[in-house]
Symmetry: C2
Subunit: 211 residues, 2 copies
Amino acid sequence: MDDPPLRILIADDHPVVRAGLRAVLETEPDFVIVAEAATAEEAVELAGSGAADVVLMDLRFGGGMNGSQATAAITARPGAPRVLVVTTYDTDADTLPAIEAGATGYLLKDAPPEELAAAVRTAAAGRTALAPAVADRLMNRLRAPHTVLTRRETEVLALVAEGLSNQGIGERLHLTRATVKSHLAHVYAKLGVDSRTAAVAAALGLGIIRR
Amino acid sequence: MDDPPLRILIADDHPVVRAGLRAVLETEPDFVIVAEAATAEEAVELAGSGAADVVLMDLRFGGGMNGSQATAAITARPGAPRVLVVTTYDTDADTLPAIEAGATGYLLKDAPPEELAAAVRTAAAGRTALAPAVADRLMNRLRAPHTVLTRRETEVLALVAEGLSNQGIGERLHLTRATVKSHLAHVYAKLGVDSRTAAVAAALGLGIIRR
DNA sequence: GCCGGTCTCCACCTTTTGATCGATGCCCGG
DNA sequence: CCGGGCATCGATCAAAAGGTGGAGACCGGC
């Protein structure tokens, strides 16, 4: 084993998780943790210096840029390191943007240590490393092509989810009641529902809106 | 420093988090990690053996018993160890049951290592260790004494959150529309809202209904 | 240059919801 | 045994939401 070491950058806002990933990965003799980042911005900066082969990226940071945005920023550059998303969350809302952003893999934090190490090697080699649960969902996604709401529709729907009336939404967005209703009618059609509450429920399930 | 060591049990379904907590806590010379549990059931069993002074408890496990239930099971016994909840989630839906279940403290995983160690000592001494964010919310909770919906009201509200109409809810529960409306009127009053969608939003925030 | 999607708005009509009065029966605790 | 909370229903009325069938303006792509 005289291969060059595999250089890893850990990006997570939780000190405990950083320590955990470090502890798990350092049991592999050819892995070297070259840096840790506590914010997405920091991760982008450190990844840009070319010091790492693989970035382990969390998706949610306390504030500011999120993990998907950071992933996009990192992978956009030539000669960028591979980004392996390691997160707690396993929903469409989280996975899809991360994968679109150019993540090489997506693991869940409940993965056993060996799987984690194996995924890092897979990612370093440029191949995709997906957690089984994530892989499953992606397959389903391909079968049922996904609902795309326009920006305006999503915006209106988000306000519906906050309990506002059409009138209230209109005032908030400087629109008439008619326009709001029009947007909502389109949303209902796309989601296959026929009431605002059902739309909110469906959208929460699909990860179109959050919380 | 010839104090007896402080014996700690780590309960979390994520290997990475267990490794992280272990790594962080082992920097304290008088801390000893006596065991790790990957399920809530395992945690209850290990805590019952009297081998630990403090249990670090996650709230969400993959399946089966959750952390609050495990906390209740552990603290119910005489001579039980202190339970310190350490989790990612910071919502009423998570904190309140845990505290009611007898947790001595509640920390978030983004706490800095020193704070974590300090909290373990505080908990071991039987004093309450709360993350600032959690403490804040508890204060608010005391000011606005909490909403208790009756079983029927909660049941109706849950169906509203699924997008059913009053008529549909009535059919599902074998009630007339009038009864459903009556229950909902009470729900609105208790939650301080005036529409079904707002009620769903509020209830999700308060953890009265889930997902 | 025209087509399609998006965003904006209007009018008319039906259905649903919410608000406000009720009423009855049940059960539990003081 | 009586009050109060709970659960069940009724009726009425105004407001909101949803359905239908439009229209004009903008913009990007073929």
